[in-house]
Every structure is written in structure tokens, then in C-alpha cells.
Amino acid sequence: MRKVAVIGVGNSRFGIRNDVNVSEIAFEAVKPSLEDAGLAAKDIEFVALGSVGAGAWYEELLPAVIVGEYCGLTKAGLMRVEAACASGSAAFFSAYSAVASGHVDVAMALGVEKMREIDTPTAMEWIGRAGYYFWEFHNFGLTFPAYYALYASAHMAKYGTTEEDLALVAVKNHKYASMNPVAHLRNKVTVDEVLSSMVIASPLKLYDCSPMTDGAAAVIVTSEEKARQLKIDTPVWVAGIGYSSGTANLSKRQDFVGLEASVLASQRAYKAAGITPDQVDFAEVHDCFTIAEIMAYEDIGFCPRGEGVKLLREGQTEIGGRIPVNMDGGLKAKGHPIGATGCSMIYELTRQLREEAVEKGRQVPLKNYIGLAHNVGGTGHYCYVTVLRR
């Protein structure tokens, strides 16, 4: 296996982007990633596009082809990758593998999602169906907030986690999103505002939920030799990737206080990177709902099971704390364009590790120059954990 470097990243502005179609928003990520790498579209030999809502919440069934044509990527090896909300990370893994294996020298992972072309109840319908339609949606109408709410209720019952604790995740992530120009929700919120927002699926309220967001992110990877040839100043290396999956039926899970897929994926990622969790300087974790960030701390070994809220209450996951988490605002406030999220996490890790161009107040202090991205698909149906190192 060859060493693989991230050499170009781009991220569209996230938000309700009714001003652009799927190709145009992808272009907003592809162009800066190519400029960042100093490459032209024709130099990209392989493209893995992560997207979930093709033909459902946006109109194109074959987005990789549509976007490929629009961005000048036609003729590259091409695929669409689906791993629900982890599709972007799965696309990154595909691009990484294409280079690591020696199949190609330059590959692109591109995540894109257009979620706001349909009405909200229909969007809730589509996303709710994305668990196990037949056994958990058809008769019972589970929504995505409801799936995570099941975990929140169990976590609260077992560990005494409170609704105020959940609110702290939203407060933190909105605070950092307010400094991030690409973020969807740039308003700061208070614990009281979170607690008084409308109930979506108890105990989760509106401000416990990530928004439905339009967005795209692109990442270009290459081999060590090619990176040297291209005279890349600050390559960021892929230190290790771990992956796992969980059952489709939530009713087949052992418990509802953590995601086993996250535990296994992170263990594999640490092993592949040859590191322990305490060596990670900062992380992007999958906070599609506030409870998900607390479970992530525990699942990926930042603290023992049940002590995630302690990290939050002590401010240990803010800048100045032990391990800053989601300094871009996270899914919660930067937004969660489902298929783009994984690539957007890599975009953020790369910029932080380069210590460049990150907005004032968001740059994390780096000791080991190691960042981690934890990307969950569904409710622990898929999980990818990616470790980058400068």
C-alpha cells in the first residue's frame, strides 16, 4: 500500500441553496479543490461521488455523471458511493484506496447533496425510510430524529444525561459555526433557547437537530511520489481509516447508549494509524443530533462510557480544552448535506492541520498534528473513522 496525501480541498457555502442546482453547488467545491492542489480537472483519474438523495430529494438519478460532465471530470473512473450520512467518508475511502493500491496517482472524493428542493414533511419521509423501511418505518413512521431520540432516552435513563447536557452541544457548535463563513446556521444559541425550542421527537427538540442543508465538498488525494513531483508545500497524510457497520433493525442492537459501529471503526482507525485516542489533537465527530456528539466521545474513546457529558460540562471539547471537537460548527450548525458531510470533515481537518486560512478563533492548537473525522451513516448503520496527520 502506498502512502496517500490530501493535496486539495474545497467546500461550497452550506445552507438553503435554492440559487444553485446540484452541478453548480458541486462546482463550488471542485474548483477550489483543484486550485488548491494546482491541478486541472483532466488530471483527476478517478472520482468517487458521495450522495444519497439522487432521484429522491433532488431530481438527478446519476449525479456522478451529471456533476462529472459539469466540472470537466468526464473520462475519469467514476462511481457514486452510498453509505447514508457517511457517504462522503466512503467516497474518501474509495479515492484513498484507488491511490493506495496504485491503480491511479490522483483521485477525487466529492460529496454533494441538495436537500431543499422538496418540502419538509417529504424530506422527513425519505430520511425516515432510510433505516429499515419495511420493519421500522412502514407501520411505525420513524423519523431520523426519532431514531436518535431512542438513543437519547436510553442514555438519559442509564447515565443521568439531561436535556441541558444535550443543549450544551448545540450551544458549543453554534458558537463555532458563527465564526465559520461556510456554515448554514451562524446564529449563537443559549441553553434556554435550545430547551424552549419545539419538540421534534422527545427528548430531542428543534435545536438538538442538525438542519437539512444543501452543500458540497471535494478532496483531492495523491501518492507520496506524485505529491513530491507536484511540489506540494503541506501535504496532509492519511494515517489510517477504520470502518464498520450495524444492523438495519434498531431492535437487533445490544443497547441504545452507544453505536457499536463507531466503537469498532475507531478502534480499527487507531490501529491503522498506530496511535491511541489521547494522541488526537482535535476531531470532527458526527453530531447529527446533540446526543450523537455525546455518544461519539464515548464510542471513539475520548472518555469512558457515560462520561461524555463531563467533557462537555468542563468545556474539554472547546478550544483550550483537552480535545476540541467540531470547531467548524459540526453537522449541528455548519449543516448536514448528507453525502457531502464526510468530505467536508476532511476539508476541515486539512485546513486545521495546515494551520492556514482558518478563521480567527477556530484554529485548534496542534501538538501531534493529528486530526480525526468520525462519520456515521444512518443510526450507526455505517461508520467511517479517518485519521489525518501532517
Binding site: 417529504t122 419521509e125 425516515g128 411505525f140 426519532a146 432516552s153 419545539m198
Partner: protein, 145 residues
């Protein structure tokens, strides 16, 4: 419908209805109409499955027998769904729970017959088969007596 202040073209609307085969688990659906909730059990390795399956993922055996569940359950977790998807908008907000049966399998279903404040992790309930107002066979958790 979504309303955008931005210029747009509306896509052609389509209606999609899938006909989902249930031939291999037909007894389960017929059982619900008779007030019974069935699981399947692998004839070779003995693993019990709910929801019922026609093939054992543990030993790959396709010889399964039907087992009626006892229906005593303990709630492991729950949520009250307020914001509903399109196809459930005609219902009032509903409560969904996952209950563990004494046979060891877990079931996800609506829980009815309780005030929301009464539903707690650890609550003991009964799983019952039912045919809803629209004639669909389903199952739900209800009070023990």
C-alpha cells in the same frame, strides 16, 4: 410544497408504490390478523428471529419453524414523535418504543394506552397483534392489564 423565492423549474411529479413480497413470511402477517405475534426459529442452530426471517444469517440454514411469542416485554427505550413524515401526517403524534421480550428478542412498535408521562425505560408492557382502522395488520405495546 417547498416554496422558493429563487427562479426554478418544477420537476414532473410521479407516484411510487412498491409491491413488497411477503410470501416467505406470510404466516407472520396472517398471525397478526388472528391476534398472534410469531417469530421464526432456525431448525438447525435454534436462533430466534424477530422480525421473522426465512433464512438464518448465523448458520445459513433456510429451514425455519414458526414460534408464537409470549408477548411480555420490558421497555428499553422510547420516543414521542411529534413532527411526522408525510405518510403519517394524518395521525396524532405517536410514541414508539423498543421492548425486550422474555425470549430475548426485541421489538420496535408503537406504545399505546399510556399517558406519555407514564412511559419509562423499564416499564413492563404487553405486545399485541392488531388490525388498524385502515385494515393493516400490525402490532403494538399496550398496558399489561
Amino acid at each position: 410544497m417547498s416554496s422558493s423565492s429563487m427562479p426554478n423549474v418544477r420537476s414532473k411529479p410521479i407516484t411510487i408504490v412498491e409491491e413488497i413480497p411477503i410470501g416467505k413470511t406470510l404466516k407472520f402477517w396472517e398471525g397478526l390478523k388472528e391476534g398472534k405475534v410469531y417469530a421464526t426459529k432456525c431448525c438447525k442452530c435454534g436462533k430466534l428471529y424477530f422480525p421473522p426471517v426465512a433464512d438464518c444469517s448465523d448458520c445459513l440454514c433456510s429451514e425455519m419453524q414458526w414460534v408464537e411469542l409470549s408477548c411480555e416485554a420490558e421497555i428499553e427505550t422510547f420516543t414521542h414523535v411529534v413532527i411526522r413524515p408525510t405518510s403519517f401526517c394524518q395521525y396524532k403524534p405517536y410514541t414508539v418504543a423498543i421492548g425486550r421480550l422474555k425470549e430475548g428478542v426485541k421489538v420496535l412498535a408503537w406504545i399505546t394506552g399510556f399517558r406519555l408521562s407514564q412511559v419509562k425505560v423499564g416499564l413492563r408492557v404487553k405486545l399485541v397483534a392488531k388490525v388498524d382502522a385502515e385494515g393493516n395488520a400490525t402490532y403494538e405495546f399496550v398496558p399489561l392489564c
